[in-house]
């Protein structure tokens, strides 16, 4: 008896793509928020923040995501709070991407010239006014492409959540489930690759358009 690719298989892959997208958005939002705080704290001239959060960023960026997944999951288990793999996966992904976002945010804040900030303060703005009305808008434009790159990386990295056996399956895991049944790895993997490719392409496209609108606005303002 041979097994073939059915409509249900296709639907499973579409659902998987949806889960991949959902994971990216949830972890992306939480991770960006955390990364923003960490990156910002590192630019305040506080040595304790600078070095302790520097270590946080360093550690996250030097350990494979798979190991972070398993470590966090087993730590919660031995601490007496066993978690659903899906939830612990989202938390790990958020922490993981926050380390990368922090570096980007730090670079963005540092890209704003000191004189600009001093001028803002000289005009009577408070620290927070200077930060939110001057530094954030300028710095954000500088690092927006790097941030988009990080989010694309995050989307590809969500495929590793499979090591925890998280359900519902994301795109790559659902492809593997289908491969196990119909034994046609090449076609299914090509299909999954196409899904990822399209999702990456869509994000890149919209990010590019957004950037263009920004630039047009800037041109108009000048």
């Amino acid at each position: 008896m041979t097994y073939t690719f059915t409509t249900n298989d296709f639907l499973l892959m579409v659902q998987g793509a949806g889960i991949t997208f959902l994971l990216t958005i949830i972890a992306g939002v939480i991770g960006t928020f955390m990364g923003f705080l960490v990156g910002w704290a590192r630019t305040t001239k506080n040595a304790v923040f600078y070095y302790s959060l520097g270590a946080y960023v360093d550690i996250i960026r030097s350990i494979p995501l798979i190991i972070q997944f398993v470590l966090f999951n087993s730590f919660m288990a031995i601490a007496g709070y066993p978690m659903d793999p899906f939830i612990s996966g989202i938390i790990t992904l958020s922490i993981y991407i926050s380390g990368y976002v922090a570096e980007v945010v730090k670079a963005g804040i540092e890209s704003v010239p000191d004189v600009t900030r001093k001028a803002a303060r000289g005009l009577g703005m408070t620290y927070y006014q200077d930060f939110f009305y001057v530094v954030v808008p300028i710095g954000m434009r500088t690092v927006f492409p790097s941030w988009t790159g990080l989010m694309l990386g995050l989307m590809k990295d969500t495929s590793l959540i499979a090591v925890l056996g998280a359900t519902p399956p994301e795109l790559l895991r659902s492809s593997q489930i289908i491969i196990n049944r119909i034994q046609e790895p090449l076609m299914i993997l090509l299909g999954a690759g196409a899904f990822y490719f399209i999702m990456c392409y869509v994000i890149t496209h919209f990010a590019g358009r957004y950037e263009k609108i920004w630039q047009q606005k800037r041109q108009a303002a000048l």
Partner: protein, 224 residues
């Protein structure tokens, strides 16, 4: 709340195996970067070639390598190529897939590096009487190296992290060996913790070495 007793002795007992697996990770990382760099240099040249085939090969390679997950690339090498009668060992599959991935990213890094050197410098060098080879070696290359040095170091770290995916297809590099050992001893936290520390140490040593090399090679360190 915390009723768990950590058992580190069992990790110590398997330390030689972990160390050996760490060396395998190191070996995979270095090999994949060397192969990746060689292919990337070709791809970067092909990108601006007038031959349409070479150009499309380069564009397609870079797009595929950068827009699909590394794990999918490893699956492709390990399971997918079977459709063509090519059956790779886990080692070759991981090495091939990570090198494929590296080549895509490194090609973009190299291309960026070459674009930092204005063409006018080459003309000036030629005008001063340097041959094409001399102007390449003494003028272009040093500046390109300085521009691409740090991004390449980042890519080395990234390649090391990517080799950990070998665990999923049963390769016993550091992560794979850790998974194997914890499944025998039922001590996941201890084993993964030690493995995480080993990755951290390798990454730290690599970055420190890179900083020393950069300080000696370039005036004022590598470009940030």
């Amino acid at each position: 709340m915390f009723e768990y007793t950590f058992q580190w002795r069992v990790v110590w007992k398997h330390w030689p195996q972990l160390l050996e697996a760490g060396l395998l990770t190191l070996q995979l990382t270095i090999l994949s970067i060397i192969i990746g760099l060689v292919i990337a240099s070709v791809l970067a040249v092909f990108r601006d070639s007038s031959n349409p085939f070479a150009k499309y090969l380069s564009v397609t390679w870079v797009a595929l390598a950068r827009n699909t997950p590394a794990l999918l690339q490893i699956y492709m090498a390990y399971f997918g190529l079977g459709a063509f009668g090519i059956h790779l060992s886990p080692y070759t599959a991981v090495l091939g897939a990570v090198a494929f991935n590296n080549a895509g990213y490194l090609a973009e890094i190299l291309r960026g590096g070459f674009s930092t050197v204005p063409a006018s410098q080459k003309f000036a060098a030629r005008g001063l009487g340097l041959t094409a080879t001399q102007s390449y070696i003494y003028i272009t290359l040093p500046q390109v190296l300085q521009a691409v040095f740090l991004p390449i170091v980042n890519q080395v770290i990234w390649a090391m992290l990517a080799t950990s995916l070998g665990m999923i297809i049963g390769l016993q590099e550091l992560t794979g060996m850790t998974t194997f050992l914890q499944s025998q001893t039922f001590r996941p936290f201890e084993f993964y913790f030690v493995a995480a520390c080993m990755y951290l140490v390798i990454a730290k040593i690599a970055t420190m070495l890179a900083q020393i090399v950069a300080a000696h090679m370039f005036k004022g360190g590598a470009d940030k």
